[in-house]
Symmetry: C2
Subunit: 438 residues, 2 copies
């Protein structure tokens, strides 16, 4: 047995990098006992080697130049945690070219350069691991890639942005507005000063592209996917959702349509039944439901971000890399294996809907809406209304609609714009049907 | 790249064996594309080669003698799905000795011969995989062993017997008795004609031993673990549980007590908060919550049994075995790495409790019980009572008790036996506190 300790080069000592370094030190004996593989962190690249750090680290390990990691023939594995897509791209490219397996959690990097980097990984028989890029501590990447490998993935439904979920959770539980919930999340450190990418759905979308890549075998580009954020969700929608037995979550939906061999991929706040496990995912937790043709429904739940949960994911990959790096012909990294599937046009995607109109409380308004929906052959399964405090002449009018294509619903809603008693821009949510018979 | 197809020997063509064979054929192209490893099923050992089978299989693949699989130098990997602990033991032992990696789902085999087989596996540098032995399609074994490898496991809490969960689910949802729920489960094929091992908790206990082995590094023997089944759970307890915001689930609890370096390991129907995800696991589904020092709380959910979900787990292992079998020095199989931890005596395990007494409705009975509890320094957090139809003189009296050691509760309950107005054998449930701050 080869007992030379595997040497790790760590690039980046920010929040996650610090968590990784600390855990590799603190739980060193456990890791070595479990894997049987001796290892050491040989070198740590940082931007500024003189900066004061929270973590105790021998300064002789530090370097200000990541090239030293790649060029050191003794370093076996590179962990990329410097973030961004500029230096990180150069580092990962250089490492793969030098046949050093790379572990990264950089979803922006994968979104921008995934196709190129995975091609490079395949050409060099050098794996690129990315468990930490999606779902924080949830081992969804290894599960999709290894444990569930025999499954055609029918559907993935996920709550994969902790900030949005934290905000929606406080709106639901405390009845506060989106603005107040956001401010509160910022105060508590669960939302950044600029929360745009979290609340507009694009962080979730980038992670969804990674999940879709694993499920369907090739990197996808973010063009043309439908992404809606949570900023238009209102407390009144939570009120109606609860009455109707639903909760509202920012959901990622990925579904393969066999008949058209196309992929449905969208991100939007949606109604889900309170009976479904995903509706009970609160706060910064994430959860991903994977429906496979062989395994049926599975769900994976855990902390979606944070120093230590993300470090757990990174180190899970490092241990894989250690096992893989001595037999490059059979590595457990991802390699593309299919052509890219076309995306199903958004207008063709079919679900039931919840639509809330703000209307003048005049006779005939329900008839007007019902007639317009009927014109487009859209069935109504229920209606509810609620008067509004301080607005005696107005009310909220909710319609639950049977499943129909999104495009057809949009045309019906367009037809209602002409009616002055109906305020423009009704609140529209998809109702996701997720339950598999227990 | 070595392109010789890896040859698989499959022993057993019962329900799961058939699922594995069918999936290896049906999803062959997908598996090969994803893993890059060509494979073929070379030989299938069955008890009776002439029996009619549901599955289409070339009869030239069949043999009545599993020795042929082990002795065939071309066969790289053995899948053991013959069940039982007699022939299966001989087969696995022979295969490991012949340096052929083994994939099994046989928890009875691991419970009985785990120590010996894992030692043999280590001595021969030949891995033994067992994802299918616990949690059906849920990839809990690979997750504990690989993805979460850097975590000291603080606690595992699981619903890992589908039959019991199906029965408890119908009792909760339909208000029926244990007997009726069991008969119904038998009618639907979710409980066997002899359901003993499922409903008495021992099936869950055997799986718990496997989880504990992975979490704490060594096979454990089933002696002295506390196992209670579901046959004494009554509809009235579901009534009170619901009133109090709980559900009742057959829970496996594994917890490491650092202060005593001892392991708490028990199986019993327990109260869990309706806020916790595990309380929403219904029917034959399983779920396992793992709390790690680095990752925090994670939950894994899916079908706990059945032909295809179990086949998914087996094939996940087969693919690992394929990757491992050409570099025996770093395989992903389990090897024991610690001495066995002592079990915490049951009497020292501490939780809050729900206790339901059946009493004569006379003045002073609450005072009597409260006084006896006070004598043992056991605090009361709530009491509730409910009259009983047709029994005007009697009622159910429920006490929620603060956390205290089990032994102390037992002594208090013993002290109440002398009182004729209190029926013997009150219903006692632990209240498991599982929530991690979301």
């Amino acid at each position: 047995m080869n007992q030379r300790a595997l040497q790790i080069g760590l690039a980046g000592l920010g929040t996650v990098g610090t968590g990784v370094y600390e855990t590799l030190c603190r739980n060193h004996d456990l890791l070595q006992a479990r894997t049987g593989i001796p290892y050491a962190v040989k070198r740590v690249a940082v931007r500024d080697i003189h900066r004061h750090r929270e973590v105790l680290i021998d300064s002789s390990l530090l370097t200000g130049d990541w090239h030293e990691l790649v060029e050191d023939p003794e370093i076996d594995i590179i962990i990329e945690l410097i973030g961004g897509t500029d230096e990180a791209y150069k580092l990962v490219k250089a490492a793969l070219t030098a046949h050093k397996p790379v572990v990264t959690g950089n979803k922006a990097l994968l979104a921008e350069y995934g196709s190129e980097l995975f091609r490079l990984s395949a050409e060099n028989s050098t794996p690129l691991y990315f468990e930490a890029s999606c779902g924080g501590g949830i081992p969804i990447i290894q599960c999709l890639q290894n444990s569930l490998v025999c499954n055609h993935v029918r559907r993935i439904t996920g709550i994969i942005n902790g900030t949005s979920n934290y905000i929606l959770s406080s709106m639901e539980r405390k009845g506060v507005s989106y603005r107040d919930a956001l401010s509160n999340a910022q105060l508590k450190g669960y939302a950044e000063a600029d929360p745009t990418l979290d609340v507009n759905g694009w962080d979730a979308a980038h992670k969804a592209l990674i999940l879709a890549m694993l499920a369907y075998g090739t990197p996808l580009s973010p063009e043309n996917i439908a992404v809606y954020g949570i900023d238009r969700v209102s407390p009144v929608d939570f009120h109606f959702a609860r009455e109707l037995g639903y909760n509202i979550k920012l959901l990622v939906v990925i579904r393969h349509h066999e008949d058209r061999d196309a992929l449905e991929l969208r991100v939007q706040p949606s109604f889900i039944s309170r009976q479904h496990m995903l509706s009970n995912v609160y706060g910064v937790f994430n959860a991903i439901a994977v429906h496979g043709d062989i395994v049926g429904e599975t769900i994976f739940y855990g902390r979606g971000a944070g120093k230590n949960p993300t470090a757990s994911a990174v180190i899970g990959d490092v241990m894989l890399a250690m096992r893989d790096c001595r037999h490059p012909e059979f590595h457990s990294g991802f390699h593309p294996y299919t052509k890219q599937l076309p995306l199903l046009p958004l207008e063709d995607t079919v679900t039931p809907y919840y639509v809330r109109f703000h209307v003048s409380d005049t006779p005939g308004v329900i008839a007007t809406i019902a007639a317009e929906l009927a014109k487009f052959d859209i069935g109504i399964s229920a209606t509810m209304s609620r008067g509004l405090e301080g607005e005696e002449e107005a009310c909220d009018l909710v319609f639950l609609l049977h499943a129909c294509p999104w495009g057809r619903l949009c045309r019906a809603l367009d037809g209602l714009k002409a009616h002055r008693e109906i305020a423009p821009h009704p609140a529209v949510f998809r109702i996701e049907k997720l339950n598999e018979e227990a």
